[in-house]
Amino acid sequence: MASPLPELTRLTLATARDGLRKKEFTAVELAEAHLAAIDAANPALNAYLLTTREAAAAMAAESDARIAQGDARPLEGLPIGVKDLFCTKGVRTTACSRILDGFVPDYESTVTRNLWDAGAVMLGKLNMDEFAMGSSNETSCFGPCVSPWRREGDAARLTPGGSSGGSASAVAARLALAATASDTGGSIRQPAAFTGTVGVKPTYGRCSRYGMVAFASSLDQAGPIARTVRDAAIMLGAMCGHDPRDATTVNMKTPDFEKALGKKVKGLRIGIPKEYRVEGMSPEIDALWEQGVAWFKAAGATIKHVSLPHTHAALPAYYIIAPAEASSNLARYDGVRYGLRVNGADIIDMYERTRAEGFGPEVRRRILIGAYVLSAGYYDAYYTKAQRVRSLIKRDFDEAFESVDVILTPTTPTPAFALGEKSASPLEMYLNDIFTVTVNMAGLPGMSVPAGFSANGLPLGLQLIGKPFDEETMLRAGRVIEDAAGPRRAPASWWLDAAPAKAGAAKRARAAKAPAAKPSKGKR
């Protein structure tokens, strides 16, 4: 085996695809370059929970054979990472929860199945907040994932955001060409903004939820994190599609998202919602938003002010609806069919002890809130009320989209924060999602595009919100920001300069290299 070529990890998904087809390098070399980069970075970043070396080698070899025969599929030979929320056949899937300790699914999620059928190569499973509940990747039972970005002159470990922190960190650190992610209240877009990557949450119904560990079913949607808008468009196209196994997927042809990027934006109507100028927003973020407006004007788009009057209600309504759905979805973890079991005096005691020990504090908190707002006597006051507010939020967007094509907002109210900085206050953590939850509440497509840097050198993102099933226009607008923001800047590979890995880090790296663990049976 030749030594891995590190420069191959610097390619975009699109240029790697073209290079493979021109036979400038092989899919096996491309996979090996990424696996070597993972080995070097993972002790510091904790992005991968495990790597699937053997599967990657076999898939890459098949891709090389297909390319040799002129039979390449759309993502042939392109190595990607998978958020641990997606069930992968024969490969441990835990959603980063102890309650799914050792769970090895015997089936494949539709989204990952679609990607493998398109020729993509699996590198491994990526860190995330437990059951996707969190905005900093700190609720993972495998420990937090670390951002490859640092503040200038400061070695403090920063969050890559969450819940798709592993996906964002891996893509930003060039440990995958792209990754799958999921977004219930901002879990694709906020990490993308924090790591200078592109994250797309498509319209509800575009991607199948089959085999994706459920959090809040009326809000959950899969999508990609990638390094360019083009790469995100390519990934999205392969992930989407009607699936008879998920009745909420729409039965319509998936557009050619990459092709849509070529269209002009002149005359495009961009909406600016005044309600997104919130108190406590960093002045840098405000300036970035103004910059975005100027870029669209320069590109020939028309700027229109729109009003989304119920914006302030979206976050509290979300924190009723999402926990309510979660408490119902997570009822399945009972210590009987899979994962952890903790014995008790009787069957109810067994359920209660298993769930108390298997779920982390944030998940327990949300289950209790959900059980409360759904309980007799409180259901109408909280749950039905939140659903009525949800109608108003959607109505706001419907009205705004009568006069604009895309809405432009910041993705997050602040740049990335340090690990530990916000984990003491759940409410403060929830405020991270203030600009992103509205999109899930209304079922719309949204994306975050890297747009600039904070004064201390951290990436900042702008959010674009599209009309239902009009990801094409949204992606096209994303290109305007990407082009105007100038050449992509990559984080410095500080993890390569670090002293030899400490014992703990080396141990984590070994664990990450282990193949899919045999299911451990938990306590009996």
Partner: protein
């Protein structure tokens, strides 16, 4: 809305989630603060606004009422913490 100790115990039982007795007070205070925050929704007028119950944009598709999966009991119990033959094993339920 104040979530007192009795209410915490009752919610925890509904959720089948053990809350240790010494944690009941702290959990109650935390839930009270979050519920207090979401209660700002009460000030929004939702008279005559229907609840939005889901996002599905189409009617549920029908399919023939035929078995299209199954005969895989061994696969289903494979991840169980405790299984015997093709059965999940649980603590005794009936005396």
């Amino acid at each position: 809305m104040q979530i007192d100790d009795a209410l915490v115990r009752s919610i925890a039982r509904l959720a089948r989630l053990k809350v240790e007795e010494e944690q009941v007070g702290a959990v109650g205070r935390e839930l009270t603060s979050i519920i207090g925050w979401v209660e700002q929704l009460q000030s929004i007028d939702t008279e005559n606004v229907p609840p939005l119950t889901g996002m599905a944009s189409q009617r549920m598709a029908l399919r023939p009422d035929e078995v299209n999966d199954g005969d895989c009991a061994a696969v289903i119990v494979k991840n169980a913490p405790l299984a015997e033959d093709d059965f999940f094993v649980v603590p005794k339920v009936l005396e």
